[in-house]
């Protein structure tokens, strides 16, 4: 390479172009990112596993492709990281837990198949809260991940490793998963773009299930155009996932100006002043661009956290039952079957996972099912209806992604309720099944603040288009561990 900016400082579009034009080889691109991981990840701790040999081998293979072969594959020459609850054949998968032990997947997740077909070079697996349960990545049983903006702070979670890897420019693209905000919240804390697609838009086959009716895989990137690119690669129906929608009509919207809904329930108490300031400035910018801001109400918002923390643990308690020490992963020996089960699960799961398994088991128990699980499902329906009504009036809804900025590591260790309440702006999109996009809107005391865009079901592409018009109006992001000025 010449004296121009390092390859790791490019976004995916740019890398792909350089590769297609022959200005950079795939090997040079991968090598640059691997070096970046080596230098930056010691302080960030985003990766659980880096597949140097595999990525280099794939790069050398791609270097033999013709220009046409490169152009045919939208991610040719582009390194990608996977949250470590997405399986890739032959690679270890831990879900941030001890219980999977030395497990290596015998199969590729559908999104991994699609990434490979699109020419992406998978460089490794990123850290997460155990089984994606958490909002700080502190609940990983395996590693600590720090926020590249301030290493004393959390990167958010549960896709904290992917968010930190992208923000620290170790990869241009990463996949995360979002069950109650696990893509959007860490994206917000790390100042990147993170998007949760419409439920069913992206196959969950090969995503280690947390809460099946809420989980979605989505893109985490430094630009909206990259997020859109990655989304277009991974979306689509899948013969392996009965809940993945056949490619339906994407909702389209006019060029604008739009009616943008601002839900009053999302601007109440609990929002930090810095977040409020950045959000209001962004809203003001939208107004000045000619859009109409409309105050709306999503009246069942106050019940969302409660409903979410019944439904998600209930499904999780069932989904995590398979980790029993019988077929794969860790096994603690016991004198009989029941002791083996108990010891394996006791030693294999961390405290937060156990807390949620207990919550969920209780919520599904005979005599409690109606009061907890069934009631939560009814609330879920009401929340979905809130959005249905709102989207009759407005084209998009804009809210802060989180009520706060990245908090200090260890700060919420003893306060799970406070941790749960941080999900207040994001869980509703999962409960309603609608797409949500978090984009960096500015800084509060030097820490990023995310702005969340919501659209009706199947409005995924319109979200990118709409948010992109704002992106051009905002100060360009200066990456926290970026190239020295």
């Amino acid at each position: 390479m010449t004296s121009k900016k390092p390859l790791w400082d490019h976004d995916a579009h740019s890398l792909h172009d350089l590769f297609c034009e022959g200005a950079a080889s795939a090997e040079e691109i991968v090598t640059s990112h691997l070096e970046r991981i080596r230098s930056a990840d010691s302080s960030v701790g985003a990766f659980l596993y880096v597949d140097e040999a595999g990525a280099l081998e794939e790069a050398r293979r791609q270097d033999r492709w013709s220009a046409v072969e490169r152009r045919e594959r939208p991610l040719a020459g582009v390194p990608v990281a996977l949250k470590d609850n997405i399986v890739a054949q032959g690679m270890p998968t831990t879900a941030g837990s001890k219980i999977l032990g030395e497990f290596r997947s015998p199969y590729d997740a559908t999104v991994v198949v699609k990434l490979k077909q699109a020419g992406a070079m998978i460089v490794g697996k990123t850290n997460l809260d155990e089984f994606a349960m958490g909002s700080s990545t502190e609940h990983s049983a395996l590693a600590e991940t720090r926020n590249p903006w301030d290493v004393s702070r959390v990167p958010g979670g549960s896709s904290g490793g992917s968010a930190a890897a992208v923000a620290a420019q170790m990869v241009p693209l990463a996949l995360g998963s979002d069950t109650g905000g696990s893509i959007r919240q860490p994206a917000s804390y790390c100042g990147i773009v993170g998007m949760k697609p419409t439920y069913g838009r992206v196959s969950r086959y090969g995503l280690i299930a947390f809460a099946s009716s809420l989980d979605q895989i989505g893109p985490m990137t430094r630009s909206i155009r990259d997020a859109r690119l990655l989304y277009e690669v991974i979306k689509g129906a899948d013969a392996h996932d009965s809940t993945a929608l056949a490619l339906g009509e994407e909702r389209t919207v006019s060029q604008g100006p739009w009616r943008i809904g601002v839900p009053r329930e999302y601007f109440g108490e609990g929002m930090e002043a810095g977040v409020r300031q950045v959000t209001e400035a962004a809203l003001e910018r939208l107004r000045s661009m000619g859009h109409e801001l409309v105050e709306i109400s999503l009246p069942h918002t106050p019940y969302a956290i409660a409903a979410y923390y019944l439904i998600a643990p209930a499904e999780a308690s069932s989904n995590l039952s398979r980790y029993d020490g019988v077929r794969y992963g860790m096994r603690a020996e016991g004198r009989d079957l029941v002791t083996m089960y108990e010891k394996t699960r006791d030693e294999g799961f961390g405290a937060e996972v156990k807390r949620r398994i207990l919550l969920g088991t209780h919520a599904l128990s005979a005599g409690y099912y109606d009061a907890y699980y069934l009631t939560a499902q009814k609330v879920r329906t009401l929340i979905r209806q809130d959005f249905d009504y709102a989207f009759r009036e407005v084209d998009f809804i804009v809210t802060p992604t989180t009520p706060d900025v990245a908090f200090r590591r260890g700060e919420r260790d003893d306060d799970p309720i406070k941790m749960y309440l941080g999900d207040v702006y994001t869980v509703t999109a999962n409960l309603a099944g609608i797409p949500g996009l978090s984009i960096p809107a500015g800084l509060a005391d030097g820490l990023p603040v995310g702005l969340q865009w919501l659209a009706p079901r199947l409005g995924d592409l319109s979200l990118f288009d709409a948010a992109a018009t704002l992106e051009t109006q905002l100060e360009p992001m200066v990456w926290p561990m970026g190239v020295d000025e």
Binding site: F103, A109, R204, Y205, L207, A314, S317, R322
Partner: protein
């Protein structure tokens, strides 16, 4: 002393005969090297998802309709959760509160011929579990267990009867009829010994003065009995055991019991006092199962003739009820009969030969009508030779045996063995003359009125003709010759 009424309800699991499993594309075939019919989905690997097998739904729907159930246009799947090594996900995907079929019935007929409808409460679809092979003689002292997941995920239907059965005999009749109905649908191998049909029996005794809900009676579930006969034996034993306990003033414990084939006794497996909480909840990985009502109606119209209708038709045609019952309960025999009677007018002759001689040969060999070497066309050809007088009944039996052994046609056997019946009087006359000459005393016996003596003479002629002489002809020739040559003159 209190009188008790026997209350029995049966849960029958039937493995559906699909090529692949219920939620993945692994082979659903019985057997195979352990863990070779497996993939990440049926092994319950992290990240896998179920995808419903449409063929299984089709077979389940046929079954539900054939059992007179109402099939739901919208049903759903649920997770039934418990830990066991043969259950990879630690939950079974089943149907809980919205089963595919409901409100059906099976008609049984007792020895007195009276028909009784036994309610079919529900028919639902679920996946099978794997198998554990215990190392050692019994589970109690096993040194270890090997898990084989070939069967995990094989599609099942569970057919739950109402508690309408009042005796072990009724349970036997119900199972026999149920199996017969299902056999006409081509949905399962229905082999109890291989586990493709399994039965659990719930047995309780109702005191004469009990007015409450039957479900509230303490009931014992006899699990996984491997033949209809043993279900009957198990219930008989259990009824006697419960009667004794009640007579002794003890109480029946709600529990699960196994059946020991060797002793004919049931034995306690686990107490249900602390009821399992399966924590059922809707399976979030599968959307509701939505069936087009038109498709359901088409499926119903497409059902084959079922035992009730077949039985009525056969009896209408003059078949004895007993024979009709035998044919109906063995679908292969009935289909054989249909093919044979399509080619041969005399239905009674077909029935008789099928249910006596051919049945005996088939049973002796452990074969079936479907794989017998004597095909319906072959049997019909044989019957034709009888009808034309070419073969006597006795000769025909010999020919049938040869056909059965060698697979040759009737005419081939007749030709090879020089077996055709001699119907030419002149060919037999010389033998008749010789026999009469050799047995003057017997002839005298006959003339003195001993009718039996003639039979001896017929036998002698038949012997010398190696059975090929037509018996009535021999009879006639003997009588004529005695009359002509030995009878005292009338003058």
């Amino acid at each position: 002393m209190n009188q008790y009424q026997v209350i029995v309800g049966l849960e029958v699991h039937v493995e559906l005969k699909t090529a692949t499993k219920l939620f993945c594309s692994c082979s659903a075939a019985f057997g195979g090297e352990p863990n070779t019919h497996t993939c990440p989905v049926c092994l319950g690997m992290p990240g896998v998802l179920p995808v419903i097998n449409q063929e299984a739904i089709r077979l389940a729907t046929r079954s539900a309709l054939a059992l007179n159930c109402t099939v739901r246009a919208v049903s759903k799947f649920d997770r039934k959760q418990y830990f066991y090594p043969d259950l990879p996900k630690a939950y079974q995907i089943s149907q809980y509160d919205q089963p595919l079929g409901e409100y059906g019935w099976v008609t049984i007929r007792g020895a007195d011929g009276a028909a009784k409808k036994i309610g079919v409460r529900r028919v639902h679809v679920e996946e099978d579990a794997g198998k554990l092979n215990h190392l050692g003689q019994r589970l109690g002292d096993a040194t270890g267990s090997l898990v084989d997941l070939n069967r995990a995920g094989v599609p099942l239907i569970e057919i739950v009867s109402d508690p309408d059965l009042r005796s072990a005999e009724e349970a036997r009749l119900y199972l026999t009829e149920l199996r017969a109905v299902l056999s006409y649908l081509d949905i399962s191998d229905l082999r109890m010994e291989e586990g493709s049909m399994r039965c659990d029996a719930n047995v309780s005794l109702r005191p004469a003065d009990f007015q409450g809900n039957l479900e509230d009676l303490p009931r014992v579930e006899i699990k996984n009995v491997n033949s209809i006969r043993n279900v009957q034996r198990g219930i008989e034993y259990e009824v006697a055991r419960q009667r004794e306990l009640l007579a002794a003033g003890e109480r029946i414990v709600k529990e699960t019991r196994g059946f020991d084939d060797a002793t004919g006794k049931t034995y306690s497996q686990r107490s249900k006092e602390e009821a399992n909480d399966y924590r059922y909840f809707p399976e979030p990985d599968l959307p509701p199962l939505v069936l087009d009502p038109q498709w359901i109606a088409d499926m119903k119209r497409g059902l084959p003739a079922l035992p009730d209708a077949i039985r009525a038709n056969l009896i209408d045609r003059g078949m004895p009820e007993k024979d009709a019952e035998v044919l109906v309960l063995d679908r292969e025999a009935y289909e054989y009969w249909q093919q044979a009677t399509a080619l041969f007018q005399d239905e009674r002759l077909v029935t008789n030969w099928m249910l006596s001689d051919l049945s005996r040969l088939i049973n002796a060999r452990g074969e079936s009508f479907a794989n017998s070497r004597v095909r319906p066309e072959g049997l019909v050809a044989l019957l034709g030779l009888i009808q034309s007088g070419t073969l006597s009944g006795r000769m025909a039996k010999e020919v049938l045996e040869a056909m059965f052994e060698t697979g040759q046609s009737a005419s081939q056997v007749v030709k090879d063995r020089g077996l055709s019946q001699i119907t030419d009087a002149s060919a037999i006359q010389s033998i008749v003359d010789q026999v009469l000459k050799d047995n003057p005393a017997v002839v005298q016996d006959y003339l003195s009125g001993k009718e039996k003596a003639l039979a001896f003479l017929v036998g002698q002629v038949m012997k010398q003709t190696r059975g090929q002489a037509k018996p009535d002809l021999v009879n006639q020739l003997l009588k004529d010759s005695i009359q002509k040559d030995y009878a005292p003159s009338q003058d």
